[in-house]
């Protein structure tokens, strides 16, 4: 009897472990099965490189090139703003912060990670958009607004992963440098940080993943015009926001093309994940 129960539960645990495999398989099947036919109908290259997104016109055109460019612009902006601040803050936490202060600062940064993206979006809508409208011109709904907001949103990701990478560097690196007469800053920036490079890179890639996948905060501040922008003060539409804006009323090929947009986004994310796990593996071997 007990043997049977043991065997049964072993099977139950095993099946539970398989659920994540099943989930990934289902997600792939349903996205691809609904997205690929639409892509084929539009024409793969016309879909990816088409400059015009006009799903309601007759004949309609479904080019998502502006959205791919939009996602890349907004993500690049977030990285330019978020990475320097994030990495330097991680250095602060790992190498400067006194223990007493750390007990306050660390939870504050975790709180930054816990704030919902709609709240960020609402904040961007109320503060960043009017600020840019007043001081830099344009409507305020722009690549710049989205980049600033996403730059803040990816901070906790970058700080968390970078900090643990910096902490993983053996103490001897730092102590050796100081023993040779280096100042604290020189020891940190010339020996510890270079040794943590692959971990810091991993944090940046994770940040890219967060930024490219963010939807609600972007949709509220980016303006959402489906065209290739010519200035950072112009509005832009990303792949994520394309889906969320039109899915509510789309049908037929239009709906298919939105799912296909999701497929392209999914492929982007898979590549980013792959890059991240390669880098993370390298970090593990290094230490």
């Amino acid at each position: 009897m007990t043997m049977q129960v043991e065997k049964l539960m072993h099977a139950v645990f095993f099946i539970a472990a398989l659920v994540s495999i099943i989930a990934v398989a289902l997600i792939c099947i349903f996205l691809f099965a609904n997205g690929i036919p639409a892509m084929r109908e539009i024409g793969f290259l016309d879909f990816l490189l088409g400059q015009r997104w006009a799903p309601m016109n007759s004949p309609p055109s479904f080019g998502i090139f502006p959205m791919i460019v939009g996602s890349i612009y907004v993500t690049a902006g977030a990285i330019i703003i978020g990475v320097p601040v994030g990495v330097l803050t991680a250095i602060f936490l790992a190498k400067y912060c006194p223990a007493k202060l750390y007990r306050v600062v660390k939870p504050a940064i975790q709180l930054l990670a816990g704030i919902p993206s709609v709240v960020y979006g609402f904040f961007g809508l109320m503060v960043i958009v009017p600020f840019i409208r007043t001081y830099l011109g344009g409507s305020g709904y722009s690549i710049l607004s989205a980049s600033i907001l996403l730059g803040i949103m990816i901070l906790p990701t970058i700080i968390g992963v970078s900090e643990s990478a910096i902490r993983a560097v053996p103490r001897e690196y730092y102590e050796g440098a100081v023993a040779l007469g280096a100042t604290h800053e020189r020891a940190v920036f010339a020996t510890v940080v270079p040794a943590a490079t692959s971990g810091i890179l991993a944090s940046i890639i994770l940040g890219v993943g967060r930024a490219i996948g963010e939807t609600m905060a972007v949709v509220m501040v980016a303006g959402n015009q489906a065209r290739v922008p010519s200035s950072i003060l112009q509005g832009v539409r990303t792949m994520t926001t394309n889906v969320v804006l039109e899915m509510g009323y789309a049908y037929g090929l239009h709906r298919g093309s939105l799912i296909a947009t999701g497929v392209i986004l999914f492929v982007f994310i898979l590549m980013i994940n792959l890059l991240f796990s390669v880098l993370k593996r390298r970090t593990n071997y290094g230490s």
């Binding site: 007990t2 803050t89 940064i109 904040f123 109320m126 939807t215």
Partner: protein, 283 residues
């Protein structure tokens, strides 16, 4: 380490580069914290004055824009995924830590898929939920469809934290249990799992935080109806979606601020809970 934060003119003159770097490091930390406090203060200052009783009326209408139905929906949409995913995630972690052989192929695939799941953006979960639960299974926009979508979304989180908790239990505990004649199952449920509960709980709290803040995965699965649902097959908006609709409609900015305050208070409570738990685990 306090000495490292002191700025003196003498050292600045002797090591100008070091001085600049120090200014940058401290400046960045201040900028990060400044962004957080500005955001919190801005929303609280603008929102608290609008926390009127009408906002907490039992029924929503366009006049009072009550957030109570959304709050109740949020509770339901937090509850169902936890009921579904906590046992699944914990069992799956038990398999990975206690049962699977080292270097097993299945374990490797499970790890890779769990990592993949945790990187998928919420809008892709939303699309999947729409295609699978709403359309294929014909559940329609419903609390259940939204809950199941979120169940998958928080699965990797629950799995990872449970796994870490199980791995932190010393092997000697298991050996002692075996030595007393307990079987594998009894050891897992009576010895290992109770010791791992605080770690599992911290994962659960993180999961609650993610669900409370989720929007993109819910908008096309649970829908945006501002009512208390009759059953799990009717649509209902959560607090985060409520805030999104209010701010995108643009008619109720004050109420949106107040809703954001309520959402922030919930997030702050969850964070405090998880920090308290982490302190207990560490100490």
């Amino acid at each position: 380490m306090g000495a490292r934060l002191k700025f003196s003119i003498e050292t600045a003159r002797r090591y100008p580069l070091s001085f600049v770097l120090k200014v940058l490091v401290v400046g960045s930390a201040l900028l990060t914290l400044g962004a957080l406090f500005f955001l919190l203060a801005y929303i609280i200052v603008n929102g608290v004055p609008h926390l009127k009783p009408s906002l907490f009326a039992w029924k929503y209408n366009t006049k009072n824009v009550s957030l109570v139905p959304a709050l109740l929906n949020t509770l339901i949409i937090v509850g169902i995924p936890l009921i579904v995913t906590v046992p699944l995630g914990v069992f799956s972690a038990i398999y990975l830590c206690e049962y699977a052989k080292k270097g097993s192929k299945v374990v490797e695939v499970v790890r890779i898929t769990a990592e993949t799941l945790s990187g998928i953006p919420s809008i892709v979960y939303g699309l999947f939920g729409l295609l699978f639960f709403v359309i294929y299974l014909r559940w329609g926009y419903s609390i259940l469809a939204g809950s199941m979508t979120l169940s998958i979304m928080i699965l990797p989180l629950i799995m990872r934290t449970a796994e870490e908790a199980l791995l932190s239990i010393p092997t000697s505990l298991r050996e002692a249990s075996f030595a007393l004649g307990a079987g594998k199952l009894r050891t897992v449920f009576r010895i290992v799992l109770p010791a791992a509960i605080p770690g599992i709980l911290s994962g659960v709290i993180l999961g609650i935080g993610r669900i409370v803040g989720e929007t993109a995965a819910l908008i096309y699965t649970a829908g945006t109806v501002p009512r208390i649902p009759g059953s799990v097959f009717s649509s209902g908006r959560t607090l985060a979606i409520h805030l999104y609709t209010l701010s995108s409609e643009g008619f109720h900015t004050n109420e949106a601020f107040a809703t954001a305050v309520v959402l922030l208070i919930i997030v702050l409570l969850i964070n405090a809970l998880s920090a308290g738990l982490a302190r207990r685990l560490g100490g």
